[in-house]
Amino acid sequence: MNNNTKFDLGALLNIEGATVFFAVAVLILFSSIFAPSFLTPENISNVLVQSVFVVILGIGMTYVLISGGIDLSVGSAMGLAAAVCVYCINAGLPLPLALLIGLATGAAAGFVNAYLIVVLGFADFIATLGTLSLMRGIVEVMTASTRLNSKNPEFMFLAGGSLGGIPFAVIVALVVAIVAGVILARTTMGRAVYGVGLNPKSSFLAGVLVNRVRFSVFVVSGLCAGLSGILLASRLSSVHPAMGTGYELTAIAAAALGGASLSGGRGSVLGTALGALFLAILQNTLSLMSVNAFWFQIITGVIIVLAVLMDGGVRRFVAQRARAA
């Protein structure tokens, strides 16, 4: 009963992102021992930039997962937003306008998902599986004859440049994470997202606009995918037909690793960002150790399942502690 004096593992595990924080710490330790070039400033900056895409994508996914949904279309939405953005740049539109159109494309993709799911009542994973295919197809059509390239220096600055020694993309990701994190943790909108994911019926009867929340999270996810895609296009200075393929898996893994529950109601932006960082470090370390890059895909899959299992285990443990107390 005396919780003040005893070491309370349950409470510790309940701290947002605690588990994944330890995981990142252990991984960094491992990487710096087994891959000596890991801790060079150049490599660290490289890892951070590499993590940006999944961080941003994962933040959108976190919103969706917490609300009790899933969005499988984010990888394709990335590709589509990037393709549209680069297309607009090449068509001679001013860069800010092109970026805005790219972001709007992502938001529109989220809007379509939201409409299918909230208004037409599709199962979320089927709706987003359909739009995954649909949007990938559009990207393929757009990039079929020519690869969409852009050597626009201002555009390339987005993911290549740095401000005061910090990569610009990392700054963007930080800003997005802080804004999204504060909204989720501190505002009435964020509170509603958790409520909807934990118990949509109760939340509805208590006066939460459940459908509006479910709609918004998919738009947020699309918007994040759009931003992530534009940054990736900037880094690659081109859009290829398969760009973003498989990213949905990585984004889900990052969120799950960060403590987001696939059954809704749990998760945090900080956790997801750390989860994405973990995956980026892992990928970087594997390549530094010249391990076949495809191991990363396998590990991602295993991590998802393990994270889901651990989530269940931790929850049972915490509940048990609460009952015992």
Binding site: T187, A192, L198, F204, G207, V210
Partner: protein, 530 residues
């Protein structure tokens, strides 16, 4: 079967006998010293209020639960029932309240599910034999052969019930347990189902009937056993008892006095000139509600009575915009409103504390304070940013005021007892500052002490000139709290009864009122028996 039956003849045991069975759950004794004796070929009613232990007993007879003490005899033999299949092998089949048919399967497939008749090879299903057996049984119930090939989902409620009975009978059940079999059946079909139950008895099958509808007992049931708060109260032949006596045994005296204490004080009568705060006219939701109208005045408690499935909850859901309505108008506080979601109702000053606290009320995973403020988070927020300190203060205030037992407002709500969860939901309602609160089954599954406190909360609320709509299956509670009771039947308003001040403490008056409510709720059958 044979040796057991031989012994049965010697000692004339009961078909099923439950002796001093105890079942505990963490923190609760669901059943203490339960006794139940079922004779061969009788219709036996198992009665009691919510939480009396009926469903626990059924689950024990099915082997879904194992008793913590006592014994269950089947045909005089001490049996450990390991699961539904073992119960079936002993001749005990159960028809649960939630439909347990697979809607996409045909009746034949459902009847033989998991017990398919196989051809000699043992591999192929003997469809002809199954069809024949099902048709024979089905024709005993007067069913059309064509029904047996279609998905169950396409059959009506009565036929689905009958298919479940056939499913039980197809495997030589000697005892069929039916949990609320007539719930949600219209009157005509209900009478037919009861007739089928009598016919089963006449063929030597025993039926254990669990029901809330006391008007079904006379003429169908041979004996009744009453439980209250997990304990056996009595078993008597139906011919030697009355509905009043049964109600008395089910409810117990203490609840009556408890409700009387919650009733309106004689020196605080409802102000005749009090303004109307809610008026609904001609509410229609196709297939669910038919032309329902109601009014509510400031300071008044309006009760909505009726059987489960009669449209009580649906009226409330229509009022708060939880379900769309096809026709009708709603005025709240003098303004016409058309809430398209409960959020609109909150704005209009109407808040509902729903039934089924676990699934529709609490948000498990959020703490007490967040559960309270979810109804109006803007009240503890500044330009959308929630101020945690203010939120905790507000919650602490309610915890103190409503005497919610919790370690702190930061405790997860699922760790509170049912009664305290209910109080948190009241706090949630109060926090949105409504002038009308609708409470649906406010004391479902909470202990006696918590019940009194819930009654007090309702009383305090109306004492401040605000209004409450109470929906309840427990008649003493409904009549005790309400100034006026509106009774629903099959989606229609069946009538309205004014409850005179002081009636709650007058047993004779209460009994009369209860009969009147039951008469309206069931279409006037009770009256004929008295």
């Amino acid at each position: 079967m044979k040796p057991a039956q031989a012994r049965a003849a010697e000692v004339r045991p009961h078909l099923v006998e439950v002796r001093n069975v105890v079942k505990r759950f963490p923190g609760v004794i669901a059943l203490g010293d339960a006794v139940l004796e079922i004779r061969p070929g009788e219709v036996h009613a198992l009665l009691g209020e919510n939480g009396a232990g009926k469903s626990t007993l059924i689950k024990l007879l099915n082997g879904i639960y194992q008793p913590d003490g006592g014994t269950i005899f089947v045909n005089g033999v001490d049996q450990t029932i390991g699961g539904p299949r073992e119960a079936q092998a002993l001749g005990i089949s159960t028809i649960y309240q939630e439909h347990t048919l697979a809607a996409d399967l045909s009746p034949i497939e459902n009847i033989f599910l998991g017990r398919e008749l196989k051809s000699a090879s043992g591999l192929i299903v003997d469809r002809a034999a199954m069809k024949k057996r099902a048709e024979t049984l089905w024709s005993q119930f007067g069913g059309d052969r064509r029904d047996l090939g279609r998905p169950v989902a396409e059959l009506g409620g009565l036929k689905q019930r009958l298919i479940e009975i056939v499913k039980a009978l197809a495997f030589e059940a000697s005892l069929v347990i039916m949990d609320e079999p007539t719930a949600q059946l219209p009157d005509g079909e209900r009478a037919l189902l009861l007739a089928h139950i009598r016919a089963m008895r006449d063929q030597g099958v025993s039926v254990l009937l669990v029901t809330h509808r006391l008007d079904e007992l006379a003429g169908t049931v041979d004996r009744v056993t009453v439980f209250r708060d997990g304990r056996w109260v009595g078993t008597m032949p139906m011919s030697e008892t009355s509905v009043d006596d049964i109600i008395h045994k089910m409810v117990g005296r203490d609840v009556g006095s408890m409700v009387a204490a919650a009733a309106r004080d004689a020196d605080q009568p409802l102000d005749d000139g009090a303004p109307e705060v809610l008026r609904a006219t001609g509410l229609v939701r196709r297939g669910v509600l038919h032309d329902v109208s109601l009014t509510l005045r400031a300071g008044e408690v309006l009760g909505i009575g009726g059987l489960a499935g009669s449209g009580r909850t649906e009226v409330a859901r229509a009022l708060i915009g939880a379900d769309p309505i096809d026709a009708g108008t709603i005025w709240a506080n003098g303004r016409q409103v058309s809430p398209s979601s409960p959020a609109d109702a909150v704005k209009a000053g109407i808040f509902m504390v729903p039934e089924e606290r676990k699934t529709q009320g609490i948000v498990a995973g959020l703490d007490v304070s967040r559960n309270i403020t979810i109804s109006a988070p803007n009240k503890v927020a500044q330009s959308s940013f929630i101020q945690r300190r203010r939120e905790r203060q507000v919650a602490a205030g309610y915890v103190k005021e409503l005497r919610i037992k919790t370690r702190s407002p930061a405790e997860f709500i699922e760790n509170l007892s049912g009664g305290n969860q209910q109080k948190v939901l009241f706090a949630r309602a109060l926090f949105s500052d409504p002038n009308i609160i609708i409470v649906d089954e406010p004391t479902q599954g909470i202990d006696v002490g918590a019940k009194t406190e819930v009654y007090r909360l309702i009383r305090d609320f109306v004492a401040r000139g605000r209004s409450v709509i109470v929906i309840s299956s427990e008649l003493p509670e409904l009549l005790g709290l309400s100034d006026r009771v509106m009774i629903m039947r099959e989606g229609r308003k069946a009538g309205e009864i004014a409850v005179p001040i002081g009636a709650a403490s007058d047993q004779a008056a209460m009994a009369l009122l209860q009969r009147q409510v039951m008469a309206l709720a069931t279409g006037g059958k009770i009256e004929q028996q008295h």
